[in-house]
Amino acid sequence: MSETTSPTPTPTPTSTAGGSGQESLPPRRRRVDSEWVRRNGVYVALAVLVVLNVAFTDNFVSEGTLRLQLVQVVPVVVVALGMALVIGTEGIDLSVGAVMALAAALIPLYVGYGAVAAVAMGLVAGLVSGVIAGVLVARVGVQPIVATLGLMVAGRGVANLMGGEIKSIREPGIVALGTGSVVGVPYVVLIAAAVALVTWFLVKRSTYGRQLVAIGGNVRAARLSGLPVRRVLVTTYVICGLLAALAGVLLAARSQASDPTKLGLLMELSAITAVVVGGTPLSGGQVRIVGTVAGALLMQLITATLIFHNIPDSTAQITQAVIVVGAVYVQLGRRKA
C-alpha cells in the first residue's frame, strides 16, 4: 500500500519548481522538511512510542497486550477512515460519536429479531444520519461543522431516549462478533483491516475517490467540470455515518453492552486527530489512508501508555488535549508563519 492521491513528488520539490515558469507561483517556503514531517511524522512518532513502551512498560511485548491494543484501536480506525474521506472534501463530521452511541443503543432493542437484524438496524442509523448530514451540507449548503454539531447533540439525545440505561448484550451471534477470532486474529481487527483496504481502494482507484479529492481541492472547478458534486458529498457523509455506526456496533459487541451516554464520547476528536496526524490536511483535496490508520494507532498507543502507567483520567485528558493541539500544530502550523 503506498500513499494516496497526489503521487509523491520527487524528493527535492524545489528543483522542479524553478524551471517550469516564473509567473503566478505561490510563495514557496522550505517545503522539504515540513512536508517530510507532515507525511512521515506519524510513523516516526509511532516508532518512538513503541520503542519507549518496549523499554519502560512492563509486559508490553506480549501477544496479549498486542491483541488488546489492536482490538481497542478498531473503533478509532473505522471512524477515522470515514472521517478521512469527509475531511478530504474539506468537510468535517462531529456527529460520529453520537452515531456510534445510536447504533449501539439500537442493538439491544432489535436483538430479539436476531443478530443480523440488530446489526443492520445499527447500520441503518448511520445511514440515516449520514444522509441528513450529506443533504444539509451538499443541498442546503450548511457548513459541515454546524450540520454535524446539530446531529451530534440530537443523535446523542435520540440514543439516550431509545437506549436508556446501560444494557448488556447476550445474543451469541453478536458476542461472537465481538470476541471471536480466526487463527488468533480477532474478527473486529479483520473487519477494520477490510474497511481500511476498501477505503484505500476507493480513494486510490475508484472514480468516486478521484472526484472526491478534486471536489476537496477546488469545488468550483469540480462543479464546472461536470462532476456530480452533491452526489459525491452525500455519498461521503453516508460512508462516514455507516462506518461510525459500524464502529459503534463493533464496540458494543466487544464490550457486550451498550451505554448510550458514554459510548463514543469525544470520538470525533480522536478520529479527527488520527486523520490530521496521519498527514491529511484539513483543507481538503487529499486523503491519506495508511497515514490515518497509523494516526489512529498512535493515538491509541498514547492512551494506552497513559493507562499502563496508571495516569488518572484528569491528567490523561489534559495530556490528550495538549497532544491534539501539538499534533495539529505540527501538521498545520506551517501554513501561517
Binding site: 450548511v142 454546524v146 454539531l149 440530537a154 431516549l161 484528569s314 490523561a316 488535549a321 491534539v324
Partner: protein, 339 residues
Amino acid sequence: MTSTPPATTAGTVDGAVSGSGSPTGARVARVVQRQGALVILVAVMLIASLAFDTFGSRGNLTGIAMQSSFLAVVSLGMTFVIMTGGIDLSVGSVFALGGVLAAWGSQYGALAALLLPLVICGLIGLVQGLLVARAGLPAFIVTLAGLLFARGLLLLISNEGSTTYKVPQGSGFLELARGELLGIKYPVWIVLVLFLIAGLVLHRTSYGSTVLAIGGQEDAADLMGLPVQRTKVVTYVLSAVLAGFGGAMIASYTASGVTILGVGMELDAIAAVVLGGTLLTGGAGTILGTLVGVLLLQVIKNVINQVGSLDSDWQAVVSGTILLVVVTVQRYLTRVERS
C-alpha cells in the same frame, strides 16, 4: 443609522418593506433573518400560556429569566466569537470549570470565588486565542481540545470528580445569584447590563468594528491595518471569561461546584446565537438577537418540562433539531436575499 440594528418589532414585517430599493422578497428575507426568532418567541409564549395555566405565572416567568441567565452569559461570548467567523466548542467545559473553581475558591472568600474562575478561564481563552489567531489553527480543533483540557482540569481539582465543593453558608458569594434588586434576581440584572455593554462595544467601539470586519472579510481587515490577531485573541479570552463567569453564577445559585454541568452547552449557545440572526459565516449579527435566542431555547425547555411526561433527553433532541432547522432556513433566506 448603521450603529443600531433596524428597530423592527414582530408586527412590522410588512412595514419594513417600504423605504428601500431592494426587492420585496429580499427585504422580507432580511427581516425574517434578523427578527425571526422574536416572532417565534412571541408565538411560542402565546401558545404556551394558552395551553398551560402555569406557564404565564409570575413564578414560572421569573424562573425562565433566571434559568436563561447562565446560558445568556455564555452565549454573549459565543456571539462575538461567531461574529469573527470562529467557533468556541469549549464553553460548556469552561463553564463547568468556572463553577467548580468558584465553589472551591469560596472557602477563601467571595472575592476569590469570583476572581479565580475569571482568571483561570481567561487564561484558557488566552491560549485558545493565541493558537487560533497566531498559530492559525482551526478554531474548532483548538476549542475541542480546550473542551477536553478544561474537563481534565476540572477532574484534577475535584479528585477525579469525586469531590463536590460546597460554598460555605453565609458566604457573600451566594449573593451573586441570590440577591435581588426591585424584586428581580441579580443574574437577570447582570445579563441586562452585560448585553447593554456588549451592544455598545459592538456598535460603538473600534474593537466591535474589527470583530465584524474580521468575520466579513478577514484578508481585507488585515490589509486595512486592523489589529486582526489581537482582536481574535481578545474575543476568545472574552468568551472563556464569560463562560467562567456563568459557571461562577451557577455555583452561587446552587451553592456548590457541580462537576457534571455544561455538557452540550456549547451547542445551546451556538443555537442561541444563530437563532438570534447572527450569520454563522461571521460578519453580521446582533447582540439583542442572541438574548432572544437564549430566551426562545429556555422557553422551549420550559414547555417540555410543563408537559411533564417528556424525558429531559428530549431537550437535546429539540435543541439539535432547532439548530439544524434554523441554519437551513438561514441558508434559504440568504439565497433569497442574494438572488
